[in-house]
Amino acid sequence: MERRKFLGMGAGLLAVAAATPSAVFATNYREKLPKVWKIKNDEKAKGEDMKGVNEAIKAIFGSDKVEEGKIKLKAPDIAENGAVVPVTFQAEGAKKIALMQTADPEAVVAIFDVPERGIPNYSVRIKMQQTGHVVVVAEIDGKLYKADKVVKVTVGGCGG
């Protein structure tokens, strides 16, 4: 093929790719799963009640069958200020990730959808009213993986 024609073809393909929106499947989970945000933790269980988290996993992912592994979760062993607890997690290949905890009145903190150009490596700062588990569940190749870290909170930060 003539060089000029070949280059012309490339430009045409690029134009099509640029015009295709990659925001087609944006999901606002407050609208899509309004009830999941109300799933409660038993606050009297001192952060040891996993029922809320497990119920949330089922509601978000459609299953509560989780395996360990594939997620790197970083959170402090001890948080002096429960109002600002830094949490970082990575899950290569994840398409959806849920961040939950057992320390606050409700279990779900955030639900991430990973867009095509997104990289599942996130850092946020959360509130923890008391000592509890920070739990991350990621959907990778149709399977669910879980990571769990206990964070000791010396001064609670949820207005409680």
């Binding site: 929106p21 944006a26 606002n28 905890q101 009145p105 903190v109 991430f112 150009r117 509130k127």
Partner: protein, 97 residues
Amino acid sequence: MRIKAKSKGDKTEVKVMMKHPMLSYREAKKKGKEANFIVYVTAKNEGALVYEVSTSQFLSKNPYMKFYFKGGKKGEEVEITWVDLKGKTKTGKAKIK
């Protein structure tokens, strides 16, 4: 909001500090105010969606987030939008350095 977007080879690192009181229901009740907190955050790079999260009242006040996306070149724009419980939205932009 304050946004720092840095090119890191074949990916871009973004740090954002959004300004919002993030009043949980419990905190709001204590203060005699209405609960309000950011519920949805997205980021785009030159029109393409690169970050998306639905959030709860348990993110810290003035939420800080760090994330990465594939691609992105110096000089290109990163645009971040948040929506809160009351429906207010705010958008910030920054150029990738």
